[in-house]
Subunit: 151 residues, 2 copies
DNA sequence: CAATAAACGCGAATTATTTGCAATAATATC
DNA sequence: GATATTATTGCAAATAATTCGCGTTTATTG
């Protein structure tokens, strides 16, 4: 994935239309370095797209797997480009300041075949922790007593 | 974890109070077989707790790690008991019918030490796929299944 | 038993996300 | 190219889902 991917083709290939709006959306996502919210994306588009339209587009694109919806437990969704524009990866998010870092997928190749499922199409996986800055700042807030178990 | 855990002690141990409300909440969660929404939980509590109170409790408990917030990409959070009441695990969710199955954590023991982070405290990880029933039914109408619907 | 702060209920407020609908424009077809 | 078809869009209004303010109750601590 050297230069900018051919978004127009990418859009059309999954049954959509290469409208100026969606092209700008793709380019805006392409420039992001971490998953962004719909609101932030709209801002970075200079308000070029209506928020409703944006949600509809992101929804459709996520459905097609071109865009990936990420949950950082902030109460709202974040989005980023997925394959084929960006290689599969996951995230490590700082619960202190929100910094996000990409991490490689450390999953074992295959999940054991389970009884009730026939296919596994996707997975979400985010790590949470403290970046060095926040870690140094110490535990401002209480909590986390059962850390030892399991994690 | 044989019988019912000592929820009162569990609550107190992480700085909370063993109020009848929170005890009922814990017991209700304990009976669930899959992560539930706040609304569903309230219903299963017979409305014993106000929804705002419920959210505040779940929030506090999640902060303490006693409860785990799970995201199935349905646009709202689901909750379940975490350690020490329940062993660490993840989920496999059917994007067709919403069926949920527990899966063991297949992560490698440790994430490689990264440059900008000092600690990793938690991780979220859900698989998405089709249960056998939905897989057999085939791609009815490729479309979003969960939007606006009940859960 | 009094003091203290956590937990609660209630209603109102926010925020995120969705929908209905009419207008517009990208593609496929002719 | 002209045209039909249908995805996409904007806008305004509607839904959720979740949070907040605040006065009251009540579980702990001592």
């Amino acid at each position: 994935m050297v230069g900018t991917p051919d978004f127009a083709q990418m859009l059309r290939r999954c049954g959509g239309r290469a409208t100026p709006g969606r092209l700008r959306l793709m380019r805006a996502l392409w420039k992001e370095t971490a998953p962004v919210t719909a609101a932030r994306l709209q801002k970075s588009l200079g308000g070029a797209l209506n928020l409703a339209t944006l949600y509809r587009a992101l929804d459709a694109l996520a459905e097609d797997g071109v865009v990936r919806r990420v949950d950082f437990r902030h109460g709202h969704a974040h989005y980023e480009l997925a394959a084929p524009a960006r290689a599969h990866h996951h995230h490590l998010a700082c619960t202190g300041c929100g910094a996000v870092e990409d991490v490689a997928c450390t999953l074992r190749p295959r999940l054991k075949r389970t009884s009730a499922f026939s296919t596994i199409t996707d997975h979400a996986m985010e790590y949470f922790g403290l970046c060095k800055a926040c870690g140094a700042r110490g535990p401002e807030r209480g909590g986390r007593i059962w850390t030892g178990a399991g994690e």
